[in-house]
């Protein structure tokens, strides 16, 4: 458990629900994330974990309930106020989402150029510092299409921490990467949260990663929170959903088939 965790609530979700086309994707979700902790949201594909992340970053608004970021309800504020809060966010996207038309250093410098009045020389120094933090120097003038997936993730991370945010959201940070690079990204997440006292919210289904980085874990299934606990509590849980998920078992309460249709019946026999 990290030493930097305080009891200050950075993010609070209270009774949050979200519907898409009449289907309830997020169902009455409640949890708090504390300052300095690494909070991991895990669940199967389509369980609603990425939707939770998009709700917390204000990209979509909840249909029911409230989302508080440092006490401010982001589901009830206008876009200008939300943008003010977003300046203290960082987000690492699943596929990095670097702007293709900008080079590595221009991508990292983008939030600084847009939101600060810093001199261009200072911006250049900050960009170098941030790229050093993620261990990526010498690629400043490369375009995102010319570097590997792992490097792109690290550039995305450098961009996410460019404005010294207090929360960084990670959407599947290790997916699509080989185990070594995945381990490097996990170490970076841990290091950044220790060095920069960042609160990290990570959405993933990579179990190795969960147990490496998490201070607390929330298991999501069909839009609901099954359990919130420490990695130890999750590992030792008797909950059937959690057991099936962490052991990757095909049999169990998590059903991967939408409906059991009798083929003979379907073909009219």
């Amino acid at each position: 458990m990290s030493q930097n965790i305080s009891k200050e609530k950075v993010i609070s979700l209270k009774g949050v629900s979200k519907f898409f086309d009449g289907r309830k994707i997020i169902d009455n979700v409640n949890f708090d994330i504390y300052s300095g902790e690494t909070f991991v949201i895990m669940g199967c594909s389509g369980s609603g974990k990425s939707t939770l992340l998009r709700l917390m970053t204000g990209i979509i608004k909840p249909d029911e309930g409230n989302i508080f970021i440092r006490g401010k309800d982001i589901s009830r504020i206008d876009i200008e106020e939300l943008d003010q809060i977003r300046k203290s966010f960082g987000m690492l996207f699943q596929y990095s989402a670097l702007l293709d038309s900008l080079t590595v250093d221009e991508n990292v410098a983008l939030p600084l150029r847009e939101h600060t009045k810093l001199d261009e020389n200072i911006i250049r120094i900050i960009v170098k510092m941030k790229l050093s933090l993620v261990g990526l120097r010498g690629f400043e003038s490369y375009y995102p299409s010319k570097i590997s997936g792992g490097m792109r993730k690290r550039v995305g991370l450098a961009r996410a921490i460019a404005l010294d945010p207090y929360v960084v959201f990670y959407d599947e940070p290790t997916s699509g990467l080989d185990p070594v690079v995945g381990g490097v990204i996990d170490k970076l997440i841990k290091d950044l949260s220790a060095k920069l006292l960042i609160t990290s919210v990570v959405v993933t289904h990579d179990m190795q990663s969960v147990f490496r980085i998490a201070d607390r874990v929330a298991m999501v299934h069909q839009g609901s929170i099954v359990k919130v606990g420490t990695p130890e509590e999750i590992k030792n849980s008797d909950n059937e959903y959690i057991k099936q998920f962490i052991n990757g078992l095909p049999e169990g309460p998590i059903d991967f088939f939408t409906e059991d249709v009798d083929l003979f019946e379907e073909f009219g026999k």
Partner: protein, 262 residues
Amino acid sequence: MVTRVGRFILDIFKGAKGIGSLFIQIVYWIVFGPFKKKTAKLESIFYQMGFAGLRSIVIVFFVAIFTGIVLAMQSAYQLEKMGAVIYVASLVSISLCRELSPVLTALVVAGRVGSAIAAELGTMKVTEQIEALETMAINPIRFLAVPRFLALFFMLPCLTVVGNISGIMGGFIVGSGSLNINPYLYMQTSFKYLELKDVYTGLLKSFVFAMIIALIACFEGLNTTKGAEGVGRSTTRSVVISFILIILADCFLTAIFYFSNI
């Protein structure tokens, strides 16, 4: 069938509402952005002007010059019978400046630049780049749509002037070459009946066409869904809708200019 027609009409209204809202937001950022110290970056506007304007000159030149050549030959075919072949010059210059050059240039630019904008913004949308801008508190309309809108707004009329000149040159080649009209007389007749209003009504049209191309391309790009297939669909839709709206707007504007005697 009825539901399909109903859905089609509903889609048109939804699209019109979305494009209207995009237009208002673009105008808002152009007018009020400087007061908030949040403007589109100048280098971005210049880059887009280079892409939309400078790099379209060659295709506009070729389209206009050949249109001028064809127009001169076709009108000479009729006018020769009346012994009025000299009037090919003024016919070419007036029809190009008033009508053909603004419309053809707009169609070429809609195909070349509008499609590129829709595809670029569409790819950015499906690869989460637009979402990334939003989470960085960077308004995608200010950052992406405004420079493209301004670039097209200023460059399309310039390209139309290039089209006017190249078209008249095309007519001149036919007139002084195969129709044996004295080159000096040809040029004199070209501009004798060409009034200033013929040129500026054409340019006025091109400003409207530029707005249509930019709005449709940005709207389609920013509303792309469903991955690579969606990008293709947005690109096609942006070109098809721009073409239809350019012709429609041309019809309305010509009617307005005609009936108000401009």
